[in-house]
Symmetry: C2
Amino acid sequence: MKRPTIADIAQRAGVSKGAVSYALNGQPGVSEATRKRIVAIAQEIGFNPNSAARALSGATAKAVGLTLCRPARILSIEPFFMGLISGFEAELAARSYALTLQVVATPENEVEVYRRWWGERRVDGVFVSDLRDDDVRIPVLQTLRLPAVVIGGPGDTGSITQVWSDDAGAVAEAVRYLVALGHRRIARVGGLPDLLHTQSRTRAFTDVCMALGLETAVTVPSDYTGEEGGRATRRLLIGAERPTAIIYDNDVMAVAGLAVAQEMGIRVPADLSIVAWDDSPLCSLVHPSLTALSRDISEYGAQAARQLLAAVDGEQVTSVEAGTAHLTPRGSTAPPRTR
Amino acid sequence: MKRPTIADIAQRAGVSKGAVSYALNGQPGVSEATRKRIVAIAQEIGFNPNSAARALSGATAKAVGLTLCRPARILSIEPFFMGLISGFEAELAARSYALTLQVVATPENEVEVYRRWWGERRVDGVFVSDLRDDDVRIPVLQTLRLPAVVIGGPGDTGSITQVWSDDAGAVAEAVRYLVALGHRRIARVGGLPDLLHTQSRTRAFTDVCMALGLETAVTVPSDYTGEEGGRATRRLLIGAERPTAIIYDNDVMAVAGLAVAQEMGIRVPADLSIVAWDDSPLCSLVHPSLTALSRDISEYGAQAARQLLAAVDGEQVTSVEAGTAHLTPRGSTAPPRTR
DNA sequence: CTGTAACACTTAACCGATCAAGTCATGGCG
DNA sequence: CGCCATGACTTGATCGGTTAAGTGTTACAG
């Protein structure tokens, strides 16, 4: 089947290619009558402008990119990214931007992909997630002048805007809640330690625990996988000073932690309270259901997409704070048993 | 920063654009010495061919598309798609094809997206998942002559090739295993009933149960969500003829079913055995860990990607069967308690 | 009645590649 | 020596849009 081009429309309408272009793009230069006729013909023959030709004549690629730099086995179960992606889509689809996805192995690979995309003019902008200390991607994006939005932070990203959520506030809310229930020994199983948002959560966790006069504020680093989360939990639970509550940096690790506790005969929530970060259906699926720090991840993604599209349009954009995660109490938290 | 073009290279090397094109594409028409010089310059200035210009001059878009037609809340937790996507990427990245993703609401929307992509020449081919009865997408793809690979089946897809796994064999293996353990009342919580592979699983389940002389072979339809899976489980467990084993069409529903059973005081596996379909980390995370029908979803995706790329290359491709899912026994299955 | 401005177009250059066709030097052969 | 084949390029058309500049018609002011 031959793809219709503007030349076909022009021929049918008896006008020039230029006129068709003006008509379809809402530019002045054609009469209202002609415009209507042209639009009708375009409709009829199912015309879609060739994106390559458009991109070639200086216009935009009408696509943005996202690289994911986590092992496949983490991605497959981590609900966060799919939530984010569907949030992106909501905004992108409305402006018929496509989302180009690439799974990569290392941050260096991510940089290569950015360079290639930019060189190929394949995308008009990119989403950047999982910000690290002195992230190698930031300077590259700046020299390429490739519009970008960093998801998560806040961190030092120079001229690149960020969409971030107040993790410090959320962690404080969780700790305060647990303390209000009577907990005095609260531990945390953190995410990948080289990610910036993990660091800011760790700092906030330590700070608020100290501020509330708790004895300890142990954070065990982990990697968001269930296995590691379970292992970290086991390590915490066999220690001498067993915590009465654990906060996990994602839901997958929290579920794994719950399983470990049950396996060890430690009852949740009687002997151990559990708080998950990021509330996916997973948290309400398990028994007992998990108290979680919920936030609207799709909306988070939508907000990032709005920012990126604005940046692509050349608008001056500033970093914004997306909604803070809020505690959703469920069955996994209770006052600690007094001994 | 200005993007380097082949004209820049041509100028530097003191040759024409055409010569550069021949050199970089390994075509005859330039001497080995000149080719080396040109390649070196391209390397040096970090040249990437503009994908739009390439696509425009008849070449391919170097991108394939995937539409996902499930509500966001399902996608976010369903590990299947992310596994599939990372499998795609493995093959696509090797040939530097990009993956374009779009989340849509209905199969009709999917058709629109295909039409648009095709008209825009944005993709060279598409993955088709979640095949339905008399799927509206198939005839459209055929008239558009848009290369495609159907994931899942087998079904009637005319000239479009499929990558499918032997669900009937897998369901038979699960049922035989449960029967060998001594189960006589086995139920199943199925996926979306209008999906073709759900239907073939249902048929196979009924057939094998009948063949083995079981009294019943109840399938409760569901929608892959945890909530529905839990509800279906509850319905099954409060019935007069309570099953001693349940097979779930995905892992999320199985986990939900486990939670429901525990909540009702029904012990797993003593009172109820559970088998999940598709083995994600989720299955080993919960307690007891779930016996599952495992298959290598990434490899499944990789195989589909290989097929699609071959189809894009114009090769004659035939439908292939990906590896059958095999039973991975874990803690959620045991002989039923004799009364 | 003329000058000119506004409108409704057309023409053609351009984006950055690919590729068929043409050019030019060189070498081998009868 | 002339002829043809070959290699190593160059030239220029082409893909399908966008857009600046040009053209022809009409309307209206002076």
